[in-house]
Symmetry: C2
Subunit: 209 residues, 2 copies
DNA sequence: ACATGCATGTGCCTGATATCACAACCAGTT
DNA sequence: AACTGGTTGTGATATCAGGCACATGCATGT
């Protein structure tokens, strides 16, 4: 089944399912049906079964899915059975907040390098023990620390330059918080997080919807 | 044309177009073709023309679009020809970073209220002049300040409760940073911002893609 | 005033994505 | 051992979104 094209939306939903399943593991729920999980995630039950069907068979007919097993399987599909090393650029308010954010480490994401071009900040030691490096050292430090995913928290006009530096390492996956579209060659992947785009959606909804 | 169902993806793209157009206004570019704008935004030129066609005709054949006019029109479509009042709950690292973030005010979003249930934080005056209120006062303060959009930066287990309080005000649009799915009745809208979902996508890409 | 070049606006087609509905199948009960 | 209730897995169907390609129409130059 792995030979089919998997829709990007499916991957996103798998991630959402795993959040819900984590909650169930904490609650001690042993088994869940696609119906129950669907209600929690706000999707159609058939959608869940279809999404899972891309990767195999995980349920028991007449019963449902064993929560712990399904969570394990989904995490394995997503590649979360290992820790991922993150490098972050731009130690402003947002960058620092992300570093301190607990959800990352909880999910197996670990910051291994931090950068800023403000010489006032360079050399400062952060609460996590990380030292802020100047951006010139990005390529070297990323290689030394084994960074796999780059996080961009710079102003928009710097974002493309930073991205290009990451490409040289090469760091093949980028999480971009700057409100610009970043150009990368094939094989690389950028995910954008743009709060104001989300807010604009809400504003539209309030205005026209 | 306004009677058609507008795809949510179209609204999201309009928002992205407006970012690119803002850059062009700064650069002094007077006119842009769908091709040029498409390259900047990473979409197909026909896509842009289709998206705009939902709302009318904005271009000049043989010429393109006048940047300032198009930006104005798109902002009007999105409902950004007014300021929007935001209320934020959860003054942790992330919440504080969002308050201080410049992109919001630049786009006409203004924080008018802040809340936290930590009594150590309540009463503290923030750099913006806002005072942190206890969550019990959410309904009252939101009404007094005219909050229109709620921003949730609490831990996941508190998110649904906060959302319910917002619904009572009523604040009809929520921006949710907690990694849970929030249930709201018809007429209300939730937009989720979940970093780890995005990271999971990257992890999958690095693992399987 | 006419011809030419060029970019828009849009009908149509294609492909992808979500939903429905049913057969396959398991567990517990009679 | 057969039956029943319930849930999965999946083929078929419907819906939606994206891309092509051409006619439309404006601007410039002759």
């Amino acid at each position: 089944m792995k030979y089919l094209k998997i829709p990007a939306a499916t991957i996103t939903r798998l991630s959402i399912y795993s959040r819900a399943l984590e909650g169930m593991v904490e609650d001690g729920t042993p088994v869940v049906s696609s119906k129950t999980l669907a209600d929690l995630c706000g999707v159609n039950p058939a959608q869940i079964r279809k999404d899972l069907a891309y990767f195999g068979q995980f349920g028991v007919r007449g019963v449902g899915y064993f929560v712990k097993e399904l969570l394990f399987d989904i995490k394995k599909i997503l590649g979360l059975n290992k820790e991922w090393n993150l490098a972050i650029v731009g130690m402003g308010n947002l960058g620092c907040a992300l570093l301190a954010h607990q959800n990352f480490s909880k999910q197996g994401y670990r910051f291994v390098a931090a950068f800023d071009n403000d010489m006032m900040k360079v050399g400062r030691k952060l609460a996590t023990g990380l030292v802020i490096h100047p951006i010139d050292e990005l390529t070297k430090v990323c290689r030394d620390t084994g960074a796999e995913i780059g996080v961009i928290c710079t102003p928009p006009d710097k974002a493309q330059d930073i991205a290009s530096r990451f490409l040289e390492v090469p760091v093949k996956a980028l999480l971009n918080f700057a409100p610009v579209q970043i150009q990368v060659p094939d094989g690389f992947k950028v995910e954008n997080v743009d709060f104001t785009v989300k807010l604009d959606n809400l504003a539209y909804h309030l205005t026209a919807g």
